[in-house]
Symmetry: C2
């Protein structure tokens, strides 16, 4: 059984990014990422802090814009408009979730599609469906695909079952893996809460991807012998023995499932670390597209 | 075995449209459809003629704009811009395929998304993925879904296998059938030319949908006993015994497959007639949205 090590792959991707950034700087382009956070959600602040630190480490220009929780929709849209117009900023990310008075969909739509490094703008959703290479693909699906590629797991013709139909992971991942080309050409099934006999559907999978947000939901009876299992879930479960009183588990019951897998991602240390690496990678893509540089 | 009669369902949908049109006229709104054709492809002319006649029969306002094959991209875009601005036109359709010097994707993008009754504009592709009820869904997928609904074939939790991953049928149909709600909630698999062991994948289907454009490709070994089979294919095959020297067949070998089905669409007379009915239905939806009328 191979443990798919997202930390190592993420580090590799980031080192490639570091080299690309140096090459772009030699051509006079400093890639820039703006991260906007509204309010003081501690988890969001931790994510944003980690993104900003990664940018600094790699020599990427970054702007960290922290707005008070009471920021109005109009003020937030004005910040986005400024960033859209700022030539030093190639990628814009507004950390999710914003406070409840903010219309998140409207904010996403306000981001210039060619700066939408999260890949949530409708323009990028459509480009992904249309297999347009200029599409920005959401970071978590992109990270899953990259793990498969790095571990030499063939997707062409493989049966992939994705559990979960969200627009953050399930649907874009389905479109990505069924598209033509490297890391694609898979026969993709999207299963979800309404699927009948879910374990049997999942047992068809050569590659099973869990993205449902239910702690340790996927057990051994969901998994064909020799399958590859990708666990996108990041769930907090209470654990009195842990320092913080909780621990992080995936959507897959690792102890139960791992003995029958050919390969599996752990949680933490699997898909999670890939997300930030793909965000940086998307930012470099944005800078290249905006400056007409070859990739 | 039930024969799914697209002619009868299409007629029913069009009669519902006729009643809706009368009701809208009573409110002072005459729904209008513009059909643009460039060049003199006989098949395209026949399609356009049939659309225009259906509009006339139902009391829909229609504009039929026939442009010479040599029409430039700019001139075509100017025609689209005029139609976008014309308050009497609620739906715009540019018949596919245009002559080779026309950039079809650019023309589709130029159509106002709320007049894009073909559902091919990126904005509508994204809305479909996002399960936005304002999405215009392409007519053929919509017609397939309507046939299932009219025949009381439950999609929720059913395993649907779609063979074909085009943006005209396969992908939008997958998004439509996996969306939440009536005629949706299916467990959808998209299979295609790279799928390994296609017959076995297809045999998993409670509902098998063929949209590959290969005459009579789907044979009995693709079909589970009691499955529902929807044949989207419209292929010309030479037939010296036929009056025109050809006949129309689907992607399914009807004689071979039909004995094991619970229900199946014939070709012709299955999905084909639904497309125009859903085009009219989409035009009424466009008129309602543009005038703020309840549906």
């Amino acid at each position: 059984m191979t443990l798919i090590d997202g930390k190592t792959v993420s580090r590799k991707v980031l080192e490639e990014c570091r080299a690309d950034i140096a090459a772009m700087k030699a051509q006079g382009v400093v890639p820039g990422l703006a991260v906007v956070i509204v309010g003081d959600n501690p988890a969001s602040q931790a994510y944003v802090g980690s993104k900003v630190r990664t940018c600094a480490d790699l020599g990427l220009f970054s702007r960290h814009i922290a707005l008070p929780a009471a920021t109005s929709q109009d003020d937030l849209l004005a910040v986005v408009a400024d960033l859209n117009a700022d030539p030093a900023v190639h990628g814009i990310l507004v950390q999710s979730p914003p406070p409840p008075h903010i219309d998140e969909a409207a904010v996403v739509r306000a981001i210039r599609p060619d700066k939408d490094v999260d890949g949530f703008h409708p323009e990028n959703v459509a480009r992904l469906a249309l297999e347009d290479p200029a599409a920005f693909v959401p970071c978590t699906p992109l990270g899953c695909q990259r793990l498969l590629i790095e571990y030499g797991i063939e997707t062409a013709g493989a049966r992939v079952v994705i559990v979960g139909r969200s627009m953050i992971v399930g649907k874009p991942l389905a479109l990505l893996l069924m598209a033509r080309g490297k890391g694609g050409d898979a026969t993709v099934t999207v299963a979800h809460s309404r699927t009948r006999n879910l374990p049997a559907v999942c047992r068809d999978a050569d590659i099973l991807i869990a993205a449902i947000g239910r702690p340790e939901f996927v057990t051994a009876d969901f998994v064909k012998d020799g399958a590859v299992v990708i666990d996108v879930g990041i769930n907090r479960v209470t654990d009195p023995s842990a320092k913080n009183g909780y621990r992080i588990v995936g959507d897959v019951n690792f102890a139960d499932v791992s003995p029958r897998c050919a390969a599996i991602t752990p949680v933490p240390g699997g898909v999670g670390p890939m997300t930030i690496a793909m965000l940086i990678s998307n930012t470099l893509k944005a800078a290249r597209l905006q400056h007409g540089l070859a990739s």
